[in-house]
């Protein structure tokens, strides 16, 4: 084992994340996971809100007030971006599963489309939300 015989030379390690130049492909893959994790946390809030909607009126008003606070609004806007990004990039993944869009230029083009689409849909949701609220 390693501590039985002193190491003659440092063993090679596989390069870690910071070694690599950021690329749109790797960044988007990491973002897909990150937004998925964030959305899973958001599901806790979703279940909380639905349970409150079915429960007592004062408690629903409390939940509405929490979600309507500035922290709540920022969180909801963040989850909106996560939702639209994960949704659009998920469609990109489904198309890959179907065998479409595997050429590198197409991968870059679809990646840019996902980014633009997610930002546009998030902004649209914020504008609509601000109008309704």
């Amino acid at each position: 084992m390693a501590d039985a015989t002193p190491a003659q030379r440092p063993r090679p390690l596989s390069p870690h994340l910071q070694i690599y130049k950021p690329q749109i492909t790797s960044i988007m893959s990491i973002l897909h996971r990150a937004t998925g994790i964030a959305l899973s946390v958001g599901l806790i809030v979703l279940a909380w809100w639905i349970a409150a909607a079915a429960g007592e009126a004062p408690y629903f008003d409390f939940v509405s007030a929490v979600l309507g606070s500035w922290i709540g609004v920022i969180a909801l806007a963040g989850w909106s971006f996560c939702f639209f990004y994960h949704l659009l990039n998920g469609i990109r993944h489904l198309l890959w599963d179907a065998g479409w869009g595997f050429e590198l230029p197409q991968v870059y083009a679809s990646g840019r489309a996902v980014f633009v689409g997610a930002v546009v849909l998030t902004l649209a949701a914020i504008v609509i939300g601000a109008t309704v609220w």
């Binding site: 996971r33 998925g36 994790i37 959305l39 899973s40 599901l43 806790i44 979703l46 279940a47 639905i50 349970a51 909607a53 079915a54 429960g55 009126a57 629903f60 008003d61 509405s64 309507g68 909106s80 939702f83 949704l87 998920g90 469609i91 993944h93 489904l94 599963d97 949701a125 609509i128 939300g129 309704v132 609220w133």
Partner: protein, 131 residues
């Protein structure tokens, strides 16, 4: 498996259904199927939530208590929590290399997903049938 006792089952019959044989794509397939369901259902629900921002409880209940909207909401909740637990499971399996911690995390994820799914679905049913 009582393989030491004599059995009329053939070796092939004994191994069938063990391991990932013919079920290896189940996780993958369930993730795609729920993803496909969430595309229309999720967009519909987000649109509905946007329309009810700041609304009082009665209007939220009126929205989700309808037979169609309630059904769609329940289907979405099933797909969401299933999809979420599958996704989180892959993340844990990829990054968590301590066996007991991995198993514990998976148990917490599955239990939490089942609890929150049941809570939210019962809540929708209550709005639909609770009057």
């Amino acid at each position: 498996m009582s393989s030491k006792t004599k059995s009329l089952r053939t070796p092939l019959g004994r191994v069938r259904g063990l391991g990932a044989a013919k079920e290896g794509v189940q996780h993958w397939w369930a993730q795609r199927l729920t993803a496909l369901a969430i595309i229309p259902l999720g967009l519909w629900f987000v649109g509905g939530v946007l329309a009810h921002l700041g609304a009082d409880q009665a209007s939220v209940q009126a929205w989700l208590a309808g037979p169609c909207t309630g059904t769609l909401a329940i289907l979405l909740l099933v797909a969401l929590f299933y999809h979420s637990s599958l996704g989180l499971q892959v993340v844990v399996e990829d990054y968590c290399h301590t066996e007991w911690l991995k198993i514990a995390s998976l148990v917490v994820i599955k239990f939490a997903a089942f609890f929150l799914a049941t809570l939210s679905i019962i809540s929708v049913l209550k709005m639909m049938f609770g009057g």
